[in-house]
């Protein structure tokens, strides 16, 4: 016998506490469910592959100075030396590092003219060793050849006439065409400057992990003719740390320059996702705190109402209620309060999600978060009320006759 009717009617006569708890449950649900959804989204993001061999790659900066320093000659020699090192799979000069937080972006469009919008993407300037060093797979078209690579001077503003782009970028540029069919198509950079897509690679993330276009990237066949440059090195599995030392020492032998900023990709990834990790920790703390506070609220209200109704419980026992009947009364009562709370909570959750999606450009949460959240909050309520309800069962039947 669930006694839903009388319990509900009795509740209506003592609304205040119950309504407050229901509201607390509703807010708790809205915040917890949205937090879980954000945590899930963020943790999925931190797990996204960047496309490169993160475990076995690192980069190092070289800044030349002095009158005898020659950029072209140094770069050529460095690349030759690096590629010849035992344990190095491949090495390139590069302008920016994936997931590092800093780099170049441009826009590409399929029609020439300033009136068309471009689609943003990250630019990686590499030679024909780019695919090998970055560990990306060519899905269609061809890699650059040595003769494709040009030297880009400091004042250069034009672009090479061919590029390799990621599959994600190909799909964005030509949504109606299979990516393999985009090889050979012309796209425009700087509104009007044509470039031919010569190859498609599987995956290469932009340097900015929070960017909407993080999967859009292109390889541009060029060396940067500069005194300060950066090399990206990929090693055989397990040999990264050893080679980091070797490379640093080797490059430092040239006294016309300074070597610095050597980092593993694992390090920059951790640094880039640090705010994600922090956000996850903060939200987890919020969830735990709110759960505790709400549980305490429920325990408090239930304890209060058990104390207030001692006599009544004794009367019910005298009239034939078993201990289980008494336990059930409080469990059912809590369930009714929780039900009102989670229905209200479902609306608040959706409302808060809409606000968050607009304000923080999150993806809207999946619908099933709502019913799961409702269930979980009802369960929390049932667990919280169990203690006070159990105490209520110990009220003696004689309370009915012994107290006035």
């Amino acid at each position: 016998m669930l006694e839903l009717g009388p319990i509900f009617r009795a509740l209506l006569r003592n609304k205040v506490g119950a309504v407050l708890i229901a509201i607390q449950v509703a807010f708790t649900m809205a915040i917890i469910v949205n937090s879980v959804s954000i945590i899930y989204e963020r943790s999925q993001e931190t797990k996204r592959p960047s496309g490169i061999d993160e475990e076995n790659s690192f980069f190092i900066n070289s800044s030349g100075f002095g009158t005898n320093f020659g950029a072209k000659a140094t770069i050529n020699k460095d690349l030759e030396d690096l590629r010849a090192l035992p344990g190095v799979i491949d090495a390139v000069q590069i302008n920016a590092i994936p997931v590092s937080g800093g780099g170049w972006s441009m826009g590409l469009q399929t029609e020439p003219g300033a009136e068309h919008d471009g689609i943003g993407l990250a630019v990686y300037m590499v030679d024909e060793h780019g695919l090998g060093a970055l560990d990306v797979e060519l899905l269609a078209g061809e890699n650059f050849t040595a003769s494709d690579i040009r030297w880009r001077g400091n004042a250069e503003s034009s672009w090479p006439d061919k590029i390799i782009i990621t599959q994600a970028m190909a799909n964005r540029l030509f949504p109606d065409v299979d990516y393999a069919q985009t090889v050979g198509k012309t796209v425009y950079i700087n509104d009007n400057e044509p470039m031919i897509i010569s190859g498609i690679i599987d995956k290469l993330q932009a340097p900015w992990v929070g960017w909407n276009n993080v999967e859009n990237a292109m390889l541009s066949p060029e060396y940067l003719e500069r005194d300060a440059v950066r090399y990206f090195i990929r090693t055989e599995p397990g040999r990264r740390d050893e080679l980091m030392k070797t490379v640093e020492e080797m490059l430092a032998q040239n006294k016309e320059r300074v070597i610095d900023g050597m980092r593993s990709i694992e390090y920059v990834r951790e640094r880039s996702y640090r705010s994600h990790t922090a956000m996850i920790k903060i939200l987890t703390t919020v969830i735990i705190t709110l759960t505790i506070v709400t549980s305490l609220g429920i325990v408090g209200l239930a304890s209060f109402s058990v104390n207030r109704r001692k006599k009544q419980i004794g009367i019910r026992r005298a009239l034939g209620a078993t201990k289980r009947d008494v336990l059930r009364y409080f469990m059912v009562e809590n369930f009714l309060i929780s039900t009102v709370g989670v229905v209200l909570g479902a609306c608040l959750t959706i409302g808060l999600n809409i606000v968050l999606v607009n304000a923080l450009s999150l993806t809207p949460m999946d619908w099933y978060y709502i019913p799961i959240g409702m269930l979980v909050l009802c369960l929390i309520g049932q667990i919280a009320v169990f203690g006070p309800a159990k105490r209520a069962t110990n009220i003696a039947p004689a309370t009915a006759t012994r107290t006035v």
Partner: protein, 232 residues
Amino acid sequence: MLTMTNVKKVFRTDLVETHALRDFNLQVDEGEFVAVTGPSGSGKTTFLNIAGMLETFNGGTYQLDGKDVSHLNDNQRSRLRNEKIGFIFQSYNLIPDLNLFDNVDVPLRYRGFDAKTRKQRIEESLEIVGLANRMKHLPAQLSGGQQQRVAIARALAGKPRFLLADEPTGNLDSEMAQSVMELLKNINKSGTTIVMVTHDPLLAKQATRNIFVKDGQVSEIEDVIPMHVANA
């Protein structure tokens, strides 16, 4: 139908032991209306609580309907109480948050009756106490006498064999007390056995039998209440 033999009840606190009942012997037969009188603290409520299985006892035997109830567990006692015994209390003990209908409904729900049976019994018993037209009222909206009638309806609704009443008229003026008494007499006439604790000798006299409890024992059993008891 109710037989207590040498029933003992001791209340122990850290400081004192109170022998609330000592070798309490009593037999109540089916159809009787027994009035229990006795000085304050003599053990009347204790006896009623044990008779109604609200409390356990420390020695002796208690048979209800020929069945030894001393070894029943809490659950079994609750069931038996719900089925066989109706309680009426001095302070009515209606549940303030429930209207009259829901109040009378309480023991019926624990009994597991279906909604139709419950409704029928609630209406029937409220009819008997003359409050069928007040079903949606809250207890606070009634006079003391009316509240006690609702309590009687609640005790009756489950059609118990036994009605136990602890000073049911203690909070009522003599006129209301008498009308409650008439109600109880009618209920007794229709077959329900009643044991009622009272301080009022005039009401006690109207019962079919009087017992006098003193120091936790039945000290006298008389058919007509003697004057020295009335003055006690």
